[in-house]
């Protein structure tokens, strides 16, 4: 729907049209630079008029984002990007609303808003920059920091189990979840485009590197030289194949997902799972989200994209129906409704 109701630009826009005049102040080498470039690339591709994009954030390194994009932008307060964005979208369905936030912002202080936004399925696109650390406050552990990691506030190692973003999204009945990496701009642009097309809350978890406080957190997965063996890039309707020789795949076994090798034990491509991002039952999506090294590759791309009515659309429908059916058409009607009398 969104994709059809938001007004498109008459003239083709370019990446440069979306660059603001502000100096970008992230650390050199920060993953945010690549995410910004991807967003500036995907906006012209989506094709809406520039004034119909709205970028909203909370607090944290990721939250400086709106200042760097030449659209309407709102830099909110810690954890509250999603309710602010919800208010924008519910007020005006002709806007394409994007939330940029870190793992501390969305998983800790904004955790409650995050799950409720998802369960309502407000039509927002949420980019969750997951660097597994608090960057702006200089290196405290976050709700996604791996168990046992030593940080400034966990000098003896964390004793908290981290949140798995995707599992949280699915548990909150999320209709869209994708995963991307800050060192793979093409994948980022692809999933951002899919998110824009999806009606409802789209969450994209971007594994991001913080060069200063958590350098190499995703190195094992992200390293380009071994990526083919460590990453399963999902494509809707295609069998789940990965590996540098494209001979490894994912099969559904009796106890869950299994990594198999094509050509061994009579396994052919036909034995592999074919990715269906539109499957309403989230069972397989949950298993895909949960795949971790070293036993599995990590899943990337659009893992789930299921049609589901959006909050803003349902609200609009109720308003239209009430406007058609209610005898109260204006406030004067309301004031004079019920028991009134003349003196």
């Amino acid at each position: 729907m969104s994709y059809n109701i938001i007004e498109r630009s008459d003239v083709p826009l370019t990446k440069e049209d979306f660059a603001s005049d502000q100096m970008v102040k992230w650390c050199p080498g920060c993953g945010s630079h690549a995410i910004l470039a991807s967003l500036e690339n995907v906006f012209p591709k989506i094709g809406y008029k520039r004034e119909n994009f709205c970028v909203i954030s909370g607090i944290g390194c990721a939250s400086r984002f709106p200042y760097y994009v030449n659209t309407f932008g709102f830099h909110g307060i810690h954890g509250r990007a999603t309710p602010i964005a919800t208010g924008v979208r519910v007020s005006n369905r002709h806007l394409s609303v994007w939330v940029t936030a870190g793992d501390g912002d969305l998983m800790a202080i904004g955790g409650n808003h995050f799950i409720h936004t998802i369960r309502r399925n407000v039509d927002l696109n949420i980019l969750l920059f997951n660097n597994q650390i608090y960057g702006l406050t200089k290196g405290q552990y976050s709700p996604t920091t791996p168990f046992g990691q030593i940080t400034k506030t966990s000098p003896y190692g964390t004793i908290e189990k981290p949140f798995a973003v995707g599992k949280l999204v699915l548990a909150a009945q999320g209709s869209f979840f994708a995963r991307a990496l800050d060192n793979n701009p093409k994948l980022m642009v692809d999933v951002m485009f899919e998110a824009a097309k999806h009606d409802g809350t789209s969450v994209i978890e971007i594994l991001q590197n913080c060069v200063i406080f958590n350098d190499g957190a995703h190195k094992e997965i992200a390293d380009r030289t071994t990526a083919a063996d460590k990453q399963l890039i999902l494509k809707h309707g295609e069998p789940m194949i990965f590996g540098k020789d494209r001979n490894k795949g994912i099969r559904l076994g009796a106890k869950g997902l299994e990594v198999v090798t094509i050509g061994e034990n009579n396994i052919t491509e036909k034995d592999l799972l074919v990715h269906d991002m539109t499957q309403e039952d989230s069972g397989i999506h949950n298993m895909l989200v949960d795949m971790k090294l070293p036993h599995y590759p990590m899943a990337f791309g659009v893992i789930r994209s299921v049609p589901s009515p959006t909050y803003d659309e349902l609200l609009e429908d109720q308003i239209k129906s009430a406007q058609k059916n209610s005898p109260i058409k204006c406030v004067d009607d309301l004031l004079n409704s019920g028991d009134t009398w003349e003196i």
Binding site: N52, Y67, F74, H75, G87, V90, L95, N325, D339
Partner: protein, 615 residues
């Protein structure tokens, strides 16, 4: 006295209280009585008085629910004490005896005065049999049994037969006050229109109560209450919370900005959320959020996107919203924050009323963070106050806090229905498409308001946020001089709202011995007390404040003309403290009450007389 010779007493006003167990239907009896009285031409004020528990233990004092109605010729308060109390069980008698006037009438449901019940109410002996009620005219009526029999005779099941007893009591009260039975029956029929059988039973029970009161000799007198001399027009009865919701809807319609409410249920403000949720036909977009913070943050987002944004709450919720109010002040966006005050701190007295949020409203945020503050003065005034709060917020581009309280929010009174077209216009400073001069923080010369540049408008792309911004251009700025300048701008913008406010009114002479100062929801009581003293020839006047931040420009001039100033409020002196900051040259005496209940006229008259005596 014998039947037919009951004395009729003319009274300017009477106070009736219906009290019973939670679930006895006292709120309904009270509402029907007040609505009928209003339709018969009486002025009125009502107040529901109910426990915080939904169903506290049966027959206990904790479980008593009441509804007080004050009707008459000219009414400003719910009345200090009752002329008639209806007590449906021993607990409700015990809980309310202290509010009955000496010599007043008490109607009790005698069927409920059994040992188990009066013991549960904490009485050792049956209060109907000891001397405790000797100063009152007690009418012992078989309310439960009579109502039950009628219900059974009309074919109701045994389990439902008990539920009409409130109508029997209402029928008795209707006889005493000569209420029109047809009017009452029509009201009941409308209320139960979905179930004709129940409606018929209730009407039959109502009539039986009326006839019973007429036939027994216990009713010593009937009252005749003269009708009110009101300005011509169309009237209705309205509670403060409904009036608040409707005032906001009117402001939305008049400004052309769709209403957005982000809110979270909290006593005693929930009615505003419930009411606005009904009005989707008026394009009210209402979200019940996951918490108070999401309530205001979604409102800020909606305001940014061009809606007339509102969030409604009570004290504890306001505390949670503090940081976000700062964001709205910083981004200079209009948001109306409604605070229906209750007793605090913390969870405090959720169902009782207080005015103790004032300092939080004025100062409870980090940094220099001024908001416009408007305090509604009565249930019906909530309409105009909400309208003005929205108008000021949108025209001056800054959040406005509307203060009401549990007492006026849930209380009701007559409301002269205005026409929306007659309300003052609302013209927010909306930026035009492709305005070459648009800059996010360029200000209007007079109001200092920045422009409202709504997303989706071509050529106005810009960024706002909680970080300090450079003057005019709105880039992130930590420049020391710029910060100081912006702090002054935000403050001056709010101060300049005074240029657009009406002068403060003085009720009574413009000079005198004593100026009574009050604000917000206490107007009814201070007004009646001051009028009473004026009648006695005392040189007392009243300045009741509705605009709190900024204060009206003539405030100091008024204060200067009185020998003494006493500030009355339902807290420990917060408005007096505020006045000391703004106008330090005056001496402010304080009269305070922090009991969760309104002032009484008697206590105010006594207190003011004391101030007049003391040199």
């Amino acid at each position: 006295m014998t039947k037919g010779k009951i004395e009729v007493i003319e009274k300017d006003s009477v106070v009736v209280k219906f009290a019973g167990d939670c679930g006895d239907g006292m709120q309904l009896s009270g509402t029907l009585f007040s609505d009928t009285s209003a339709m018969s031409g009486n002025d009125l004020s009502t107040f529901p008085d109910y426990p915080a528990e939904i169903r506290a233990p049966h027959n206990t004092v904790a479980g008593v629910s009441g509804y007080q109605v004050h009707i008459g010729k000219e009414i400003h308060t719910i009345g200090d004490k009752c002329d008639v109390l209806v007590a449906m069980n021993p607990a409700s008698l015990k809980a309310n005896l202290h509010v009955v006037k000496m010599g007043g009438t008490i109607i009790v449901d005698v069927d409920t005065f059994v040992p188990k019940a009066f013991e549960k109410a904490g009485c050792n002996v049956n209060p109907l049999e000891d001397a405790s009620l000797s100063s009152y005219n007690v009418i012992k009526a078989p309310i439960s049994s009579a109502a039950k029999q009628i219900a059974l005779d009309n074919g109701l099941e045994l389990r439902d037969a008990d539920r009409s007893k409130n109508m029997y009591a209402l029928g008795m009260v209707a006889f005493i006050f000569d209420r029109d039975l047809t009017l009452l029956s029509n009201q009941i029929a409308a209320k139960f229109k979905k179930n004709v059988k129940i409606s018929d039973v209730n009407i039959a029970v109502l009539k039986a109560g009326y006839i019973y009161a007429e036939s027994i000799e216990a009713v010593e007198s009937r009252f005749h209450i003269p009708t009110a001399k009101l300005e011509k027009g169309r009237y209705r009865n309205i509670s403060g919370n409904i009036a608040t919701a409707w005032g906001l809807l009117a402001a939305s319609e008049r400004s052309g900005r769709p209403l957005f409410l982000g809110s979270y249920p909290i006593t005693p403000a929930t009615d505003i959320l419930v009411e606005l949720a009904k009005h989707k036909s008026l394009n009210a977009r209402v979200m019940q959020c996951e918490d108070e913070i999401a309530g205001i943050c979604s409102s800020i987002g909606a305001s940014y996107a061009g809606s007339m944004a509102v969030t409604s709450t009570s004290g504890p919720g306001l505390s949670l919203k503090s940081e976000a109010i700062g964001l709205a002040v910083m981004t200079e966006l209009p948001v109306v924050i409604v605070d229906v005050q209750r007793g605090g701190p913390s969870t405090g007295l959720p169902t009782k009323s207080e005015q103790a949020d004032l300092l939080q409203v004025l100062y409870g945020r980090n940094g220099a963070c001024p908001c416009i503050v408007v305090a509604a003065t009565s249930p019906s005034d909530c309409f105009e106050s909400a309208y003005m709060a929205a108008k000021l917020s949108m025209e001056h581009m800054t959040p406005t806090i509307l203060m009401t309280d549990g007492y006026i929010g849930q209380g009701s009174e007559l409301f002269r229905i205005p026409k929306v077209a007659d309300m003052p216009s609302i013209t927010p400073p909306i930026a035009e498409k492709n305005d070459p001069n648009y800059k996010p923080y360029r200000r209007d010369d007079k109001t200092l308001a920045r422009k409202w540049a709504i997303p989706g408008t071509q050529g106005l792309e810009h960024r706002v946020g909680g970080l300090e911004k450079s003057d005019v251009f709105g880039a992130v700025s930590t420049d020391p001089n710029n910060h100081e300048k912006m702090v002054y701008f935000r403050n001056e913008k709010v101060q300049r709202v005074a240029d657009y406010l009406p002068n403060q009114e003085v009720i009574g002479d413009e000079s005198g011995d004593l100026l009574v100062v009050s604000w917000g929801g206490t107007k009814g009581q201070t007004y009646v007390a001051v009028k009473e003293l004026q009648k006695q020839g005392k040189k007392v006047s009243l300045a009741h404040f509705k605009y709190i931040m900024p204060l009206p420009k003539n405030t100091a001039d008024i204060f200067a003309k009185f020998k003494k100033i006493v500030v009355c409020e339902l807290n420990d002196g917060q408005f007096a403290d505020y006045l000391r900051i703004v106008y330090p040259k005056f001496v402010y005496h304080k009269y305070n009450k922090i009991k969760g209940i309104p002032f009484t006229t008697v206590e105010l008259v006594n207190a003011f007389n004391q101030y007049l005596k003391e040199e």
